[in-house]
Structure formats: structure tokens, C-alpha cells
């Protein structure tokens, strides 16, 4: 049975989705964009507004139709009762927002662990506390290594002073461990910054120290003039006052003076000699005060 006749008659009920273009339109479906470089009708642009708008709308409709045709023929997936067209990767190169992230240099521990082949193992953050019969954090809030969770009875070691406060010793030891960790982290940070600047860590430390020294000198009343000199102290380089030579070119002097005169005469918006509004206000205030 020939159904082509029926199909044709069915099709003619609807408006066509066909669009003719001399040069094929380029698509960048990854960006949902299309580029049509066909000639436009110059006469239509020059005629009155209504014709131009109608022409623009027609151009746009055809452009949109072409892209919709292209998008609806892409492979689709169904998700939440709606159809999704899977898009190809964009072709047009558009600039990034920020540079590519740099790789962080390894810390001393990471270097060592790599050398030794030590791998990070995932361990649970909680341990079972038998005294209370509960699961507690290893450290932190309500952690088992907090002081109040530790045994209240401490044996005094044989070689220790028997009058020493063992609770204090425990506190001090913990403080020291934290301090040590912070020092290590600081060292890693300084080494990282030095590597980024392409310097050696000790060179950078020296420069930072010299910077701090200069700052501290400047903060005395005499700007460090009467301070005791340190051994190997760097010479402070400041701004030197420079004076124009007494005898020089006349033109230079003339232009300089004329610039000042012009500024006074013309009144630069930002550097007016007389602020009229302000002066007026001051005058009014004075008058008011005199009346009282």
C-alpha cells in the first residue's frame, strides 16, 4: 500500500521546518551557538523600521529553526519525564576566568613518605571508650585525648622530682607538641613560598628579616638615627631629595611656573583654590552666629 500521498497531505497541514541557505550554517552546539555568514539583504536594512524589524525577525526565526533542527536530531536521554539532548564539546575557544591551578610543592613529610613508600590509610575518626562504653572522637570536641578524659591518677616516674606537679607536666608536653607542629607547618609554608619565588629558603628568610629590621628602625621617634648599630646591618635606602640645578634651561622653568599659574587661573575640578560652596557656607555660618 502506498502511503506517501497520505503522508504528504498530513505534512502540508503544518508549516515547514525547511530553511534554505546558500552557504551552510556553522554550528557550535556545545555552546548552543550558530554562525550564519550568508549575505544579508542590504536594502531591507536601509528601508523603514517596520520592514527592517520584520526582516530581522524572519532571519532570526530561520536561524533558530536551523539550530532547533540540529539540536532535536542529537541523541537524547530521558530523565525526570523530559528529554535531554547530549551536546558535543564546544569548538569555539573562549578564555578562562583564572589561570590554570599550579601544583603545590610537596611538604617535607610528603617527600619522606613518598621516598619510603608510606601510603595514607583511611582510619576511623572515632574510637571505643571502654570506661564510658561510648564511641568518642580521637581528638577535638569530646575527644579521648582531652585532658578531662585522661586518667586522673598519674604515677610519678622514679627519676622525677617528687614535688613536681605531674598534671602541669602533662599540659606542658601537649603544648610543646602543638608548638612543634606549628613550627613545622611554618617551615613548610616558607619553603613553599621560596620555591614559588625561585629563591632559597634561607635567602628569603634573610630578606624578610632585613625588611622587618628596617621597619622597626623607622618606628622609633628618631627614625633609628640614635639606635645602636647591629653587626652587618643593611644600609637603609630611602628617597633622596633632589633639587633642580640653580642654573638651568629657562624654558623648563617657564613651563613649570606657567603650569602652576594656569592651574590657579582655570581651577582644576579637583584642586580648585577656592571652594565656592564651602566658602559660602562658612560665610553664612558666620552671619548666623553674629545675629545670635
Amino acid at each position: 500500500m502506498d502511503v506517501s500521498g497520505i503522508l504528504e497531505s498530513q505534512k502540508s497541514k503544518f508549516k515547514s521546518i525547511q530553511v534554505n541557505r546558500l552557504i551552510p550554517v556553522e554550528f557550535d552546539l556545545g555552546l548552543l551557538a550558530s554562525f550564519d555568514i550568508n549575505m544579508t539583504d542590504e536594502a531591507k536594512f536601509r528601508s523603514d523600521k517596520a520592514t527592517r524589524e520584520a526582516y530581522l525577525k524572519e532571519l532570526s526565526r530561520e536561524g533558530a529553526q536551523l539550530m532547533i533542527n540540529e539540536l532535536f536530531s542529537l541523541p537524547t536521554t530521558v530523565d525526570d519525564d523530559s528529554y535531554y539532548a547530549s551536546l558535543p564539546k564546544p569548538i569555539t575557544v573562549l578564555p578562562r576566568e583564572k589561570p590554570i591551578p599550579k601544583e603545590k610543592p610537596m611538604t617535607r613529610w610528603e617527600k619522606f613518605a613518598k621516598f619510603k613508600g608510606i601510603q595514607k590509610r583511611k582510619s576511623s575518626g572515632k574510637v571505643f571508650d571502654e570506661t564510658s562504653g561510648e564511641w568518642r572522637r580521637k581528638y577535638g570536641f569530646k575527644g579521648v585525648n582531652n585532658d578531662d578524659q585522661k586518667p586522673w591518677l598519674i604515677e610519678v616516674p622514679g627519676n622525677a622530682n617528687q614535688y613536681e606537679d605531674q598534671y602541669k607536666v602533662r599540659r606542658e608536653e601537649k603544648k610543646e607538641r602543638i608548638e612543634k607542629n606549628n613550627r613545622r607547618s611554618q617551615r613548610n609554608y616558607e619553603e613553599r613560598v621560596a620555591a614559588e619565588k625561585g629563591m632559597k629558603p634561607h635567602e628569603m628568610r634573610k630578606r624578610e628579616l632585613q625588611k622587618a629590621l628596617v621597619l622597626s628602625k623607622q618606628s622609633t621617634a628618631s627614625l633609628g638615627k640614635f639606635d645602636a648599630k647591629l653587626k652587618g646591618e643593611p644600609k637603609i635606602k630611602g628617597i633622596k631629595r633632589k633639587f633642580e640645578p640653580l642654573v638651568g634651561s629657562v624654558d623648563k622653568e617657564k613651563t613649570k611656573n606657567m603650569a602652576i599659574l594656569n592651574k590657579v587661573n582655570k581651577g582644576d575640578s579637583k584642586a580648585t583654590v577656592l571652594n565656592v560652596r564651602k566658602a559660602q557656607r562658612a560665610l553664612n555660618n558666620a552671619k548666623r552666629a553674629a545675629k545670635k
Binding site: 555552546l31 530581522l56 532547533i68 536530531s73
Partner: protein, 310 residues
């Protein structure tokens, strides 16, 4: 001593790490800034463009003494403050009436920008038609040969594409194709200078076509702008090179021995081992068969030996 920058709490840390450079970047945020003097046209345009760009957009409602072409510091400061990389600045003066500057930054520094004079403007409010829903991706249609020939128009095309691209997506809802932005370049001037550029957003209406693809009808949504290109700032080569670099992680790994031609056909090269001619199965011809005579005497011999032992 150097002090490590450290976030005071987890929320700030999350906020700061979100701003760090990434392999897969965040959606670009746009800022809409008003200059020291603006006209009604400029204000309406900025308002409408902001509406199209929502939600990744920040609208500045106060005036700012800002001139990106003369002094970059102001806009770069705003970009850093808002962590944005796209900007639209609107201003109005006697010399440059209804001035709109569109541009983008890279690493909080101005990459490129384009100054446009608005010569005709129909806002969303004037048209009062149905608008698209917030945050949908538009279809971008560029018409006119100018977009392939003129340097300024090519720049404008790139900036507009970046401005309205929105989130990078590998799939798109076919129902969600709600609006189209068409940019048509009018005829070029006698010396090849760009003419008027017509920026037109339309909402789409899908009608039955008796086929898989629907018939598209358009309705003007606004803001419809007739733009004239004024000043253009091009990016420096090394900055553009840095900005278009593709991270190692996103580069496609090269597959050996597989190639594609211009038509998209795939070609693969297969390596076979060395051919062993002796083992090839050829036509069975009597002449090529191994002679049975060589084997027979040996078996006969064995048999005779067997007999002997008995």
C-alpha cells in the same frame, strides 16, 4: 616572618577555596556598573541585561566614577571584590551618548572590552511580552558575513558568546530551550568598518510540524538594541595565550593508531604479528602433502621389533 593566610572558620575557608583557580571553572559572574552619568536608555539596558544574566550577576545600583578605557583600576577592583570576570558598564556623555562597555577580565585584569553606542533600544517593559524563566541558557545565532571578516565584530562575537554562555553543560533539556539571542551585523561601511549591530532576544514557541523537529515561532522579548561599535580594546597576546591554555586534566588522551578524517570517519590501524608461511592453510593439493612414505617405514620397524620381543 611570613604569616600563613588562614581562614578563621570553615565557612570562610569554603568561600576562599571556591575562589581559587580550578581545572573546571565556576560559571563566570557578570557585574553591571553604572558610570557617573547615565541616561534612561542606559539604565534600562543594564537592568534588562542583568535580568537575562541572572542569577550569576551582580547589579550595582549606585553611580561610580569609572572609565575602563582610561583607567583600568576601578573595574579591576570591582572584579576582584565580586570574583567576577565579565562586566558591563553603562554611561552617558555628550561625546559618547548612551555608552555601553562590555568586557571580560582574566585573573582580575582586563582582558578585552568593547564600547558600544546604543542607537535604538526597546526594553522588556516596552514590549510587555512573556519573558523566559530565570537562569535558562539561550540559543545564540550570529547572522551576517561581518562576523567572519571584521576584527571588531569577531571580538564582539566572542565577548557576547562568553557573556551569555552560562553554565557549561554536556546535555540540555529540549523543553528548556526557551529563548534565542540573535545578533545580526548590518552592512559594512564603505571602508569595511562595521555598521549597526542588531541585538535581539526572542522567546521561542514550538509548534507541531508533523516531524520530530518542531516548527519554531519567535516572539520579541527585549532588550532589543541597535549597537554601534566605538572603541575596542584587544587582549595582549601573552595574556590570551595564558587564558586559552587547556589544563592537562582536560586534554584528551591521545589514542594510538586511531585517526579521523574530515568527514568524521574513523580509521584504525591494526598490527598483526609476523606471518608464518609454513603454517598457512592453503588449498589442499596432493602434491604439497607430506609424503606418507617417510613415516611408514618407522612404524613398520616398530611393529617388527614388537614381534621380535614376543
Amino acid at each position: 616572618m611570613l604569616t600563613q593566610p588562614k581562614a578563621k572558620n570553615a565557612r570562610t575557608k569554603r568561600f576562599l577555596t571556591n575562589r581559587d583557580p580550578k581545572v573546571n571553572e565556576n560559571v563566570k559572574t557578570a557585574i553591571f556598573v553604572r558610570g557617573s552619568t547615565t541616561s534612561k536608555v542606559i539604565q534600562d539596558t543594564l537592568k534588562d541585561l542583568f535580568a537575562l544574566r541572572k542569577p550569576e550577576a551582580v547589579n550595582f545600583t549606585k553611580k561610580n566614577e569609572i572609565h575602563p578605557f582610561d583607567d583600568e583600576t576601578g573595574i579591576e577592583f570591582f572584579a576582584r571584590k565580586n570574583d567576577s570576570s565579565l562586566f558591563a558598564v553603562g554611561m552617558h556623555s555628550k561625546k559618547r551618548p548612551h555608552n555601553l562597555i562590555l568586557g571580560r577580565t582574566f585573573n582580575y585584569q582586563i582582558l578585552d572590552m568593547i564600547e558600544l553606542g546604543i542607537e535604538g533600544c526597546t526594553t522588556m517593559e516596552d514590549l510587555k511580552t512573556k519573558a523566559c524563566s530565570v537562569g535558562t541558557k539561550p540559543l545564540m545565532v550570529f547572522n551576517g558575513e561581518g562576523f567572519n571578516q571584521n576584527e571588531d565584530l569577531i571580538r564582539l562575537k566572542s565577548i557576547l558568546l562568553d557573556f551569555f554562555r552560562g553554565e557549561a553543560a554536556d546535555k540540555v533539556s529540549l523543553k528548556g530551550l526557551e529563548y534565542v539571542i540573535t545578533v545580526t551585523a548590518g552592512p559594512l561601511g564603505p571602508n569595511g568598518e562595521p555598521g549597526l549591530v542588531f541585538f535581539r532576544p526572542y522567546t521561542t514557541v514550538f509548534k507541531k510540524s508533523g516531524m520530530r523537529q518542531p516548527r519554531v515561532e519567535l516572539e520579541e522579548m527585549g532588550p532589543s538594541l541597535d549597537l554601534r561599535i566605538r572603541r575596542v580594546r584587544y587582549p595582549s597576546d601573552d595574556m590570551m595565550k595564558m587564558a586559552t591554555k587547556v589544563p592537562k586534566e582536560l586534554k584528551q588522551t591521545k589514542v594510538k593508531n586511531i585517526s579521523r578524517d574530515g568527514m568524521g570517519d574513523k580509521y584504525g590501524r591494526v598490527h598483526l604479528g609476523k606471518q608464518d608461511i609454513n603454517k598457512i592453510q592453503t588449498r589442499k593439493v596432493k602434491a604439497l602433502k607430506k609424503k606418507l612414505d617417510d613415516k611408514q617405514p618407522a612404524s613398520k620397524k616398530q611393529r617388527t621389533m614388537d614381534v621380535d620381543s614376543d
